[in-house]
Amino acid sequence: MGWLHLSTDMPPSRAEFVGVAIKTTIPERQQRHVALVYRKTGADDPRISHLCWHETFRDESWAGDMAWLEIADLANDALNSRSLVGFLHRLRMGNPLVPYGFMDQGCLFRVDDVSGRIEFVTADAQLGLTCASFITCVFRSIGLDIVDEPTWPAERPGDAEFRKFIIDELGKSAKTSRRAKEISVEKFDVRIRPEDVASAAAQGDWPVQFDQAKAIASEIVAELDEMRNPPRSAVGLVEL
Protein backbone atom coordinates (compact mmCIF):
# COMPACT_ATOMS: atom_id res chain seq x y z
CA MET A 1 0.00 0.00 0.00
CA GLY A 2 1.15 3.52 -0.72
CA TRP A 3 -0.96 6.31 0.75
CA LEU A 4 -3.54 4.57 2.89
CA HIS A 5 -3.32 2.59 6.09
CA LEU A 6 -5.62 -0.38 6.30
CA SER A 7 -8.79 0.03 8.34
CA THR A 8 -7.47 -2.62 10.72
CA ASP A 9 -4.44 -0.45 11.56
CA MET A 10 -5.13 1.67 14.64
CA PRO A 11 -4.37 5.39 14.17
CA PRO A 12 -1.36 6.52 16.24
CA SER A 13 -1.95 7.21 19.91
CA ARG A 14 -0.69 10.79 19.83
CA ALA A 15 -2.89 13.53 21.26
CA GLU A 16 -2.31 15.70 18.25
CA PHE A 17 -3.08 13.03 15.67
CA VAL A 18 -5.48 14.15 12.94
CA GLY A 19 -6.11 12.19 9.78
CA VAL A 20 -8.56 11.60 6.99
CA ALA A 21 -10.48 8.32 6.72
CA ILE A 22 -12.05 7.10 3.51
CA LYS A 23 -14.03 4.12 2.28
CA THR A 24 -15.98 3.01 -0.74
CA THR A 25 -19.67 2.95 0.10
CA ILE A 26 -21.28 1.96 -3.20
CA PRO A 27 -18.71 0.21 -5.38
CA GLU A 28 -20.86 0.06 -8.53
CA ARG A 29 -21.31 3.84 -8.42
CA GLN A 30 -17.71 4.46 -7.36
CA GLN A 31 -19.18 6.36 -4.42
CA ARG A 32 -16.96 7.00 -1.46
CA HIS A 33 -17.26 8.56 1.99
CA VAL A 34 -14.65 10.65 3.77
CA ALA A 35 -14.28 11.68 7.42
CA LEU A 36 -11.82 13.28 9.81
CA VAL A 37 -10.21 10.92 12.32
CA TYR A 38 -8.60 12.32 15.47
CA ARG A 39 -7.75 11.72 19.10
CA LYS A 40 -8.80 14.15 21.81
CA THR A 41 -5.93 13.01 24.00
CA GLY A 42 -3.36 10.26 23.62
CA ALA A 43 -5.30 8.16 26.12
CA ASP A 44 -8.64 8.46 24.32
CA ASP A 45 -9.77 6.16 21.57
CA PRO A 46 -9.70 7.64 18.09
CA ARG A 47 -12.91 9.28 16.90
CA ILE A 48 -14.29 10.18 13.51
CA SER A 49 -16.05 13.44 12.78
CA HIS A 50 -18.11 13.43 9.60
CA LEU A 51 -21.26 14.39 7.75
CA CYS A 52 -23.05 11.13 7.02
CA TRP A 53 -26.18 12.47 5.35
CA HIS A 54 -28.66 15.33 5.44
CA GLU A 55 -28.68 16.78 8.97
CA THR A 56 -26.69 13.79 10.14
CA PHE A 57 -23.42 15.01 11.56
CA ARG A 58 -21.70 12.34 13.62
CA ASP A 59 -18.74 12.30 15.96
CA GLU A 60 -18.26 8.71 17.02
CA SER A 61 -15.72 6.17 18.13
CA TRP A 62 -13.42 4.75 15.50
CA ALA A 63 -15.09 1.62 14.14
CA GLY A 64 -12.12 0.42 12.12
CA ASP A 65 -14.08 0.23 8.87
CA MET A 66 -12.27 2.94 6.94
CA ALA A 67 -8.80 3.23 5.47
CA TRP A 68 -6.96 6.29 6.70
CA LEU A 69 -3.95 8.51 6.28
CA GLU A 70 -2.33 11.10 8.50
CA ILE A 71 -2.72 14.70 7.39
CA ALA A 72 0.76 15.46 6.13
CA ASP A 73 0.56 19.21 6.65
CA LEU A 74 -0.25 18.71 10.34
CA ALA A 75 2.00 15.72 11.03
CA ASN A 76 4.77 17.96 12.39
CA ASP A 77 2.54 20.74 13.55
CA ALA A 78 1.26 19.88 17.02
CA LEU A 79 -0.02 23.41 17.65
CA ASN A 80 -2.45 23.50 14.75
CA SER A 81 -3.37 19.83 15.18
CA ARG A 82 -4.38 20.53 18.78
CA SER A 83 -6.26 23.65 17.78
CA LEU A 84 -8.12 21.67 15.10
CA VAL A 85 -8.96 18.97 17.65
CA GLY A 86 -10.37 21.75 19.87
CA PHE A 87 -12.58 22.85 16.98
CA LEU A 88 -13.71 19.27 16.32
CA HIS A 89 -14.47 18.81 20.02
CA ARG A 90 -16.61 21.94 19.89
CA LEU A 91 -18.49 20.48 16.92
CA ARG A 92 -18.98 17.25 18.84
CA MET A 93 -20.41 19.04 21.87
CA GLY A 94 -22.67 21.21 19.72
CA ASN A 95 -23.89 18.43 17.41
CA PRO A 96 -24.96 20.83 14.66
CA LEU A 97 -27.66 20.07 12.11
CA VAL A 98 -25.77 20.34 8.83
CA PRO A 99 -27.89 20.29 5.68
CA TYR A 100 -26.71 18.25 2.71
CA GLY A 101 -26.09 20.29 -0.43
CA PHE A 102 -23.98 20.90 -3.50
CA MET A 103 -23.32 24.62 -2.82
CA ASP A 104 -21.21 25.57 0.16
CA GLN A 105 -19.95 29.12 -0.42
CA GLY A 106 -20.84 31.25 2.60
CA CYS A 107 -21.60 28.34 4.90
CA LEU A 108 -20.15 28.63 8.39
CA PHE A 109 -20.36 27.25 11.88
CA ARG A 110 -21.55 29.67 14.54
CA VAL A 111 -22.42 29.53 18.23
CA ASP A 112 -26.05 30.26 19.03
CA ASP A 113 -26.17 32.70 21.91
CA VAL A 114 -29.36 31.38 23.45
CA SER A 115 -28.69 27.66 23.42
CA GLY A 116 -24.89 27.78 23.44
CA ARG A 117 -24.97 25.16 20.68
CA ILE A 118 -22.90 25.40 17.59
CA GLU A 119 -25.08 25.92 14.54
CA PHE A 120 -24.44 25.50 10.89
CA VAL A 121 -25.45 28.74 9.21
CA THR A 122 -26.45 29.15 5.59
CA ALA A 123 -27.74 32.24 3.84
CA ASP A 124 -29.68 30.21 1.30
CA ALA A 125 -31.79 27.07 1.71
CA GLN A 126 -29.90 25.50 -1.20
CA LEU A 127 -26.58 25.73 0.58
CA GLY A 128 -25.25 22.69 2.36
CA LEU A 129 -22.34 20.31 2.48
CA THR A 130 -21.29 16.91 1.27
CA CYS A 131 -19.06 14.66 3.32
CA ALA A 132 -16.06 16.10 1.47
CA SER A 133 -17.04 19.78 1.61
CA PHE A 134 -17.78 19.32 5.32
CA ILE A 135 -14.05 18.73 5.77
CA THR A 136 -12.98 21.66 3.60
CA CYS A 137 -15.48 23.84 5.53
CA VAL A 138 -14.00 22.75 8.88
CA PHE A 139 -10.50 23.71 7.74
CA ARG A 140 -11.70 26.96 6.15
CA SER A 141 -13.36 27.87 9.46
CA ILE A 142 -9.97 27.95 11.20
CA GLY A 143 -8.11 29.66 8.37
CA LEU A 144 -6.63 26.64 6.64
CA ASP A 145 -7.65 26.18 3.01
CA ILE A 146 -6.68 22.68 2.05
CA VAL A 147 -7.79 22.89 -1.58
CA ASP A 148 -7.54 25.73 -4.07
CA GLU A 149 -11.14 25.47 -5.26
CA PRO A 150 -10.86 27.90 -8.22
CA THR A 151 -8.45 25.44 -9.87
CA TRP A 152 -11.07 22.65 -9.80
CA PRO A 153 -13.03 22.00 -12.99
CA ALA A 154 -16.58 23.36 -12.87
CA GLU A 155 -17.89 19.91 -13.61
CA ARG A 156 -16.37 16.50 -14.24
CA PRO A 157 -17.89 13.41 -15.81
CA GLY A 158 -20.10 11.73 -13.25
CA ASP A 159 -20.83 14.85 -11.19
CA ALA A 160 -24.34 15.42 -12.60
CA GLU A 161 -25.15 11.73 -12.09
CA PHE A 162 -23.90 12.01 -8.52
CA ARG A 163 -26.19 14.96 -7.80
CA LYS A 164 -29.18 13.21 -9.36
CA PHE A 165 -28.47 10.06 -7.35
CA ILE A 166 -28.28 12.03 -4.10
CA ILE A 167 -31.52 13.91 -4.81
CA ASP A 168 -33.25 10.63 -5.68
CA GLU A 169 -32.04 9.07 -2.44
CA LEU A 170 -33.13 12.09 -0.39
CA GLY A 171 -36.55 11.85 -2.02
CA LYS A 172 -37.02 8.24 -0.91
CA SER A 173 -37.37 9.07 2.78
CA ALA A 174 -40.14 11.15 4.34
CA LYS A 175 -37.51 12.63 6.64
CA THR A 176 -35.39 14.00 3.80
CA SER A 177 -37.84 14.41 0.91
CA ARG A 178 -38.22 18.13 1.59
CA ARG A 179 -34.48 18.53 1.19
CA ALA A 180 -34.68 16.76 -2.19
CA LYS A 181 -36.98 19.55 -3.37
CA GLU A 182 -34.80 22.33 -1.95
CA ILE A 183 -31.59 21.41 -3.73
CA SER A 184 -31.22 21.16 -7.47
CA VAL A 185 -29.17 19.17 -9.95
CA GLU A 186 -28.63 22.43 -11.83
CA LYS A 187 -27.22 24.56 -9.00
CA PHE A 188 -23.86 23.55 -7.63
CA ASP A 189 -20.35 24.65 -6.72
CA VAL A 190 -17.31 22.70 -7.89
CA ARG A 191 -17.40 19.21 -6.50
CA ILE A 192 -14.53 18.32 -4.23
CA ARG A 193 -14.68 14.52 -4.14
CA PRO A 194 -13.80 12.37 -1.12
CA GLU A 195 -10.62 11.17 -2.81
CA ASP A 196 -9.69 14.82 -3.57
CA VAL A 197 -9.84 15.61 0.15
CA ALA A 198 -7.79 12.51 0.98
CA SER A 199 -5.28 13.52 -1.69
CA ALA A 200 -5.00 17.07 -0.32
CA ALA A 201 -4.54 15.63 3.16
CA ALA A 202 -1.68 13.47 1.89
CA GLN A 203 0.17 16.52 0.60
CA GLY A 204 2.01 19.09 2.64
CA ASP A 205 1.67 22.17 0.52
CA TRP A 206 -1.77 23.67 1.07
CA PRO A 207 -3.90 24.81 -0.61
CA VAL A 208 -3.57 21.97 -3.10
CA GLN A 209 -4.37 22.70 -6.74
CA PHE A 210 -6.49 20.37 -8.80
CA ASP A 211 -3.61 19.08 -10.92
CA GLN A 212 -1.65 18.22 -7.78
CA ALA A 213 -4.63 16.50 -6.21
CA LYS A 214 -5.73 14.54 -9.27
CA ALA A 215 -2.84 12.10 -9.57
CA ILE A 216 -2.75 11.12 -5.91
CA ALA A 217 -6.56 10.91 -5.80
CA SER A 218 -6.38 8.31 -8.59
CA GLU A 219 -3.84 6.31 -6.61
CA ILE A 220 -5.99 6.47 -3.49
CA VAL A 221 -9.00 5.19 -5.45
CA ALA A 222 -6.85 2.37 -6.83
CA GLU A 223 -5.76 1.46 -3.30
CA LEU A 224 -9.35 1.42 -2.09
CA ASP A 225 -10.30 -0.83 -5.02
CA GLU A 226 -7.43 -3.13 -4.19
CA MET A 227 -8.56 -3.33 -0.57
CA ARG A 228 -11.99 -4.44 -1.73
CA ASN A 229 -10.61 -6.84 -4.31
CA PRO A 230 -7.21 -7.96 -3.11
CA PRO A 231 -5.06 -9.77 -5.69
CA ARG A 232 -5.28 -13.57 -5.52
CA SER A 233 -1.87 -13.91 -3.89
CA ALA A 234 -2.90 -11.47 -1.18
CA VAL A 235 -6.17 -13.34 -0.64
CA GLY A 236 -4.16 -16.50 -0.14
CA LEU A 237 -1.95 -14.78 2.41
CA VAL A 238 -4.97 -13.48 4.31
CA GLU A 239 -6.50 -16.94 4.36
CA LEU A 240 -3.31 -18.40 5.71
Binding site: V111, G116, I118
Partner: protein, 166 residues
Protein backbone atom coordinates in the same frame (compact mmCIF):
# COMPACT_ATOMS: atom_id res chain seq x y z
CA UNK B 1 -4.95 37.29 44.43
CA UNK B 2 -5.42 34.53 41.85
CA UNK B 3 -3.68 34.66 38.52
CA UNK B 4 -7.02 35.32 36.86
CA UNK B 5 -7.68 38.30 39.11
CA UNK B 6 -4.18 39.56 38.46
CA UNK B 7 -4.73 39.32 34.74
CA UNK B 8 -8.06 41.08 35.03
CA UNK B 9 -6.51 43.96 36.94
CA UNK B 10 -3.65 44.15 34.51
CA UNK B 11 -6.04 44.25 31.55
CA UNK B 12 -8.06 46.97 33.19
CA UNK B 13 -4.96 49.10 33.70
CA UNK B 14 -3.98 48.67 30.09
CA UNK B 15 -7.50 49.52 29.01
CA UNK B 16 -7.34 52.88 30.77
CA UNK B 17 -3.88 53.50 29.39
CA UNK B 18 -5.09 52.86 25.86
CA UNK B 19 -8.28 54.83 26.22
CA UNK B 20 -7.11 57.81 24.17
CA UNK B 21 -6.58 55.45 21.23
CA UNK B 22 -10.23 54.45 21.43
CA UNK B 23 -12.45 57.46 21.55
CA UNK B 24 -15.62 56.02 22.96
CA UNK B 25 -17.60 59.10 21.98
CA UNK B 26 -16.91 59.42 18.29
CA UNK B 27 -15.36 57.59 15.37
CA UNK B 28 -14.61 54.19 16.83
CA UNK B 29 -17.90 54.22 18.68
CA UNK B 30 -19.68 54.55 15.39
CA UNK B 31 -18.13 51.32 14.16
CA UNK B 32 -20.03 49.01 16.43
CA UNK B 33 -23.39 49.14 18.18
CA UNK B 34 -21.92 47.92 21.45
CA UNK B 35 -19.90 51.07 21.97
CA UNK B 36 -23.02 53.22 21.71
CA UNK B 37 -24.12 51.70 24.97
CA UNK B 38 -20.95 50.59 26.70
CA UNK B 39 -21.51 48.09 29.46
CA UNK B 40 -19.42 48.27 32.62
CA UNK B 41 -15.84 47.39 31.80
CA UNK B 42 -15.85 44.33 33.99
CA UNK B 43 -18.59 42.83 31.82
CA UNK B 44 -16.38 43.18 28.76
CA UNK B 45 -13.32 41.61 30.22
CA UNK B 46 -14.51 39.28 32.89
CA UNK B 47 -12.02 36.49 33.27
CA UNK B 48 -14.13 34.68 35.80
CA UNK B 49 -15.27 31.23 34.83
CA UNK B 50 -18.90 32.13 34.48
CA UNK B 51 -20.96 29.29 33.13
CA UNK B 52 -24.33 27.72 33.45
CA UNK B 53 -25.86 24.45 32.29
CA UNK B 54 -28.23 25.01 29.40
CA UNK B 55 -30.76 22.49 28.21
CA UNK B 56 -30.10 22.06 24.50
CA UNK B 57 -32.85 19.55 23.85
CA UNK B 58 -32.60 15.95 22.75
CA UNK B 59 -31.93 15.07 26.37
CA UNK B 60 -28.60 16.88 26.38
CA UNK B 61 -27.24 19.88 28.14
CA UNK B 62 -24.04 21.80 27.73
CA UNK B 63 -22.22 24.50 29.60
CA UNK B 64 -22.85 27.95 28.28
CA UNK B 65 -19.97 30.23 29.07
CA UNK B 66 -20.59 33.88 29.63
CA UNK B 67 -17.93 36.43 28.85
CA UNK B 68 -14.32 35.37 28.40
CA UNK B 69 -14.18 32.69 31.06
CA UNK B 70 -11.60 30.81 29.03
CA UNK B 71 -8.99 33.47 29.78
CA UNK B 72 -8.91 32.90 33.53
CA UNK B 73 -8.71 29.15 32.98
CA UNK B 74 -5.93 29.55 30.43
CA UNK B 75 -3.90 31.75 32.76
CA UNK B 76 -4.38 29.36 35.65
CA UNK B 77 -3.26 26.50 33.42
CA UNK B 78 -0.02 28.31 32.65
CA UNK B 79 2.10 28.90 29.54
CA UNK B 80 3.12 25.27 29.04
CA UNK B 81 -0.20 23.44 29.22
CA UNK B 82 -3.41 23.22 27.24
CA UNK B 83 -6.51 21.12 27.26
CA UNK B 84 -8.87 20.39 24.41
CA UNK B 85 -11.99 21.48 26.31
CA UNK B 86 -10.43 24.87 26.87
CA UNK B 87 -9.49 25.22 23.20
CA UNK B 88 -13.09 24.34 22.27
CA UNK B 89 -14.34 27.05 24.66
CA UNK B 90 -11.99 29.60 23.11
CA UNK B 91 -13.57 28.91 19.71
CA UNK B 92 -17.07 29.10 21.17
CA UNK B 93 -16.62 32.28 23.18
CA UNK B 94 -14.73 34.19 20.50
CA UNK B 95 -17.36 33.13 18.00
CA UNK B 96 -20.11 34.43 20.25
CA UNK B 97 -18.32 37.77 20.59
CA UNK B 98 -18.02 38.02 16.80
CA UNK B 99 -21.67 37.13 16.37
CA UNK B 100 -22.57 40.03 18.66
CA UNK B 101 -20.22 42.33 16.74
CA UNK B 102 -18.22 43.06 19.88
CA UNK B 103 -15.25 44.13 17.79
CA UNK B 104 -13.95 46.87 20.07
CA UNK B 105 -14.10 44.50 23.02
CA UNK B 106 -12.25 41.81 21.09
CA UNK B 107 -9.70 44.23 19.72
CA UNK B 108 -8.85 45.49 23.19
CA UNK B 109 -8.71 42.01 24.61
CA UNK B 110 -6.46 40.56 21.90
CA UNK B 111 -4.07 43.48 21.94
CA UNK B 112 -3.88 43.59 25.71
CA UNK B 113 -3.33 39.93 26.56
CA UNK B 114 -0.27 38.94 28.56
CA UNK B 115 0.85 36.50 25.92
CA UNK B 116 3.73 35.03 27.89
CA UNK B 117 1.24 33.70 30.45
CA UNK B 118 -0.67 31.71 27.82
CA UNK B 119 0.27 28.50 26.05
CA UNK B 120 1.11 28.51 22.33
CA UNK B 121 -1.98 26.37 21.71
CA UNK B 122 -4.15 29.11 23.19
CA UNK B 123 -2.41 31.81 21.15
CA UNK B 124 -2.88 29.95 17.88
CA UNK B 125 -6.50 29.10 18.70
CA UNK B 126 -7.39 32.65 19.69
CA UNK B 127 -6.18 33.95 16.34
CA UNK B 128 -7.78 31.13 14.33
CA UNK B 129 -11.07 31.87 16.10
CA UNK B 130 -10.98 35.58 15.29
CA UNK B 131 -9.14 36.04 11.99
CA UNK B 132 -12.40 36.36 10.05
CA UNK B 133 -13.05 39.68 11.80
CA UNK B 134 -9.64 41.21 11.12
CA UNK B 135 -11.02 44.02 8.91
CA UNK B 136 -13.09 45.10 11.92
CA UNK B 137 -10.24 44.95 14.43
CA UNK B 138 -8.26 48.22 14.24
CA UNK B 139 -5.20 46.83 16.04
CA UNK B 140 -5.10 43.47 14.22
CA UNK B 141 -1.72 44.10 12.55
CA UNK B 142 -0.16 45.10 15.87
CA UNK B 143 -1.86 42.17 17.61
CA UNK B 144 -0.51 39.70 15.07
CA UNK B 145 3.00 41.04 15.52
CA UNK B 146 2.76 40.61 19.29
CA UNK B 147 1.52 37.03 18.90
CA UNK B 148 4.24 36.25 16.35
CA UNK B 149 6.89 37.68 18.59
CA UNK B 150 5.64 35.68 21.58
CA UNK B 151 5.70 32.45 19.56
CA UNK B 152 9.16 33.18 18.13
CA UNK B 153 10.53 33.84 21.62
CA UNK B 154 9.52 30.28 22.48
CA UNK B 155 11.35 28.91 19.45
CA UNK B 156 8.18 28.36 17.40
CA UNK B 157 8.08 29.10 13.68
CA UNK B 158 5.28 31.68 13.82
CA UNK B 159 4.91 31.87 10.04
CA UNK B 160 4.05 28.19 9.95
CA UNK B 161 1.96 28.22 13.12
CA UNK B 162 -0.18 31.08 11.83
CA UNK B 163 -0.28 30.14 8.14
CA UNK B 164 -3.51 30.99 6.44
CA UNK B 165 -4.37 33.85 8.78
CA UNK B 166 -1.39 36.20 8.38
Amino acid sequence: MSLAEWEFQSLEERHHASKPKFNWDNSVGALTPEVDDPAPYELYFSTRCESTAVDIGRGQSMRKSLGFGWLGRAIDLGPDKYDVDLLADVYAEMDRALHHRQFVRLDLLLNGLSLDRLSPEILVTVLRATFRAKPKLPQWADTIEKFRSSLEQRGIDSKRALRGIL
